[in-house]
C-alpha cells in the first residue's frame, strides 16, 4: 500500500496522532494500521513471491490453505506490533515494504524449519531485503483447479438465498461497494449491512456442514483442498 504524505502528516503518510498511538501500542491505532496494510500483506502471502537464494531462483507459490495464510498474517503483524518494533519505528520509512519484508521472512523461516536451506534474513533490516523478490504473480493453475469445486458449492448455496440477500452480496462483492455505500444503495443502516453479511457467512458455513453430513461434500472439495494443502506443504517450486 502506498500512502501519500499530506502536509501536517508524518513522512510515512500517517497522521502524527496515529504514529504516536501506534508507538504507544494503543489498540485503536494498532487496528487502524492493521486495516491499512492487511489486505496487501495477505495478497503477498496468498499469491507468493519469487526470490534468489544462493544464486538460484526460487518461487514461493503462496498459501492456498486459509489457515496457513491466517497464521502467517498474524505472525507478520504480531512481530511488527511487538513493543520494541513499534517503538523503533520512526514514521519516516514507508511501512508497507517493512511489513512485506517481515511477511517474506515469516514464510522463509517456516520453510527453514522444514529443513530446506534458505539464507537467514533479519527483520530489522527493513528496506534491505536479503533476497530479491519480484512481487505478486497471480494465482497458480493448481489453485484455480481446486477452486472450481468450491465454486460449484457456493453457486448452489447462492441458489438457496432470497432476492434481498443475493442483492446484498452483489452490491458488496460484485460491484465492490463499501459497507457504507452498500447501506445507502440498499436503504439500510451500515450496521444492518454488517450484521447481514455476518449472518450470510454463518449460513454458508452451515450449508457446507450440511453438505458434509449428507455426503455431498466429502470427496471432491475436501480431497482437492487436502491434496493441495499437502502439495503446498513444501511450498517452494524451483524456478
Amino acid at each position: 500500500m502506498t500512502t501519500q504524505a499530506r502536509e501536517g502528516d508524518a513522512p510515512n503518510g500517517w497522521s502524527w496522532r496515529l504514529l504516536e498511538g501506534f508507538r504507544a501500542g494503543e489498540p485503536n491505532a494498532l487496528r487502524d494500521v492493521y486495516r491499512r496494510y492487511a489486505q496487501d500483506v495477505s495478497k503477498q502471502l496468498r499469491f507468493g513471491f519469487s526470490f534468489d537464494s544462493r544464486g538460484r531462483a526460487h518461487r514461493f507459490v503462496g498459501y492456498s490453505s486459509a489457515f496457513d495464510l491466517q497464521d502467517a498474517l498474524h505472525e507478520t503483524f504480531r512481530r511488527a506490533f511487538e513493543p520494541r518494533a513499534r517503538q523503533g519505528y520512526d514514521g519516516i520509512r514507508p511501512y508497507g515494504p517493512y511489513l512485506r519484508t517481515i511477511a517474506r521472512n515469516v514464510v522463509l523461516r517456516t520453510f527453514r524449519k522444514r529443513e530446506i536451506s534458505f539464507p537467514a534474513i533479519d527483520d530489522d533490516d527493513a528496506g534491505k531485503p536479503a533476497v530479491t523478490a519480484w512481487g505478486d504473480e497471480g494465482p497458480s493453475p493448481e489453485q484455480t483447479v481446486a477452486s472450481a469445486e468450491v465454486r460449484t458449492l457456493v453457486q448452489n448455496f447462492l441458489g438457496t438465498l432470497s432476492g434481498d440477500e443475493r442483492r446484498l452480496l452483489e452490491v458488496r462483492f460484485i460491484e465492490g461497494k463499501s459497507q457504507r455505500d452498500a447501506a445507502e444503495i440498499l436503504g439500510m443502516g451500515r450496521q444492518q449491512v454488517r450484521s447481514r453479511e455476518a449472518k450470510l457467512r454463518v449460513a454458508l458455513v452451515r450449508y457446507l456442514k450440511a453438505q458434509g453430513e449428507s455426503g455431498l461434500l466429502s470427496n471432491a472439495a475436501l480431497m482437492a483442498l487436502f491434496a493441495l494443502t499437502q502439495l503446498l506443504g513444501t511450498g517452494m517450486v524451483r524456478g
Partner: protein
Amino acid sequence: MKRGSSALWRRLEDAVSGTLAARERERLFDDVRADPQAQAHYDLAFEALRELEQAPVAQAELDVVEAWLMDDARAEAVQAVPWWRRRSGWFAGVFAVAAAAALLMTLRPSPPEPDDGFQARGAGDEHGLAIDALCPQRSGNNARHGLVPAAEYGCGLHDTLSFAYRVEPGLTPDVLTLFGLTATGDVLYYAPTPADEAGLAVHPGTWTPLPMVVQLDVNHDPGAVVVYGLLSSHAPTVAQIDAMAAALAAQPAVGLSAPQWHERIADDVHALCPTSSDCESAELSFSIHEAPR
C-alpha cells in the same frame, strides 16, 4: 469426520461471524493444527467465503486475524501496567478520598433489604453474590440515600464511587474480591489491592456497603468500566487478578443469560475456584463521563 467436528463447525461459525472468544480460538487452532481433516474443513469454509466475496482473501479472514491481534494487544496492555504505577495510583486514590470515606461512613444508609429495588447484577439473580456500584445523586434522577446506581446513571469523572454487595446466607466462601477493567485493558484494583492483599470479609444476608470509596479522577479515565466481584474462600494475589482480568478482557460481550464470569474463565480461576461451586461471581458495567451527569 471425528467426533469433535460439530464443535469445530460451531467454532467456525463463531469465527466467521466475529464472535469467537479468545479461548475458543485457541481451541479451534489447536484442533486445526493437530488434525489434517479439521484443517481441510477450516480451509474449505474460508475458500468458500473467498468465492462468495469474489476475493483472493476473504474479509472474514482479515477479521479473524484482526481479532487475534487485538487479543494480543489486550494481553500486552494488562501486563504493561507496572505494579508501582498501580500501587501509587491506589495510594493516591485512598488518601485523596479519606475525607469522603469518612463522610460516607457517617451518612451510609442502614443496609437495605433484598426487595428494596437494588438489582442483583451480572449473570442472573439466582446465584449467591450480587454487587452494585454507586455514585452521588444529581438533581433530576431518582436518588436513594443520596446515591444512585452507577450502572444506570453513570458517574462523573470528579465523583466518588462506592460499592455495596449482598451475599446469600449459608455460603462457604467468605472473601470478596472487586476489580475493574477498562476498555483499554487497564486493571483497577478495588479489593484487594497491591498494597493490601487481604481481601474483604463479607457479612451475608443484606445489602452491605463496603468501607471504602474511590475518588474517580485520581486513577480513572472517562469511558466504560466493567466491575467484577468474586466470592471465594481466600483472596487472590494481584498476579491472579491480572490473569483473571486478561482472560476476561479476551472474552466477547455476554448477555444476562451467560454463566457467571468465573465459570466463563474456569481455567484461569482454577487455583481459587477448583470447581465452579467453590466460588460465586457477579459483574456490572458503568460509564464515567468527563462532565457531571
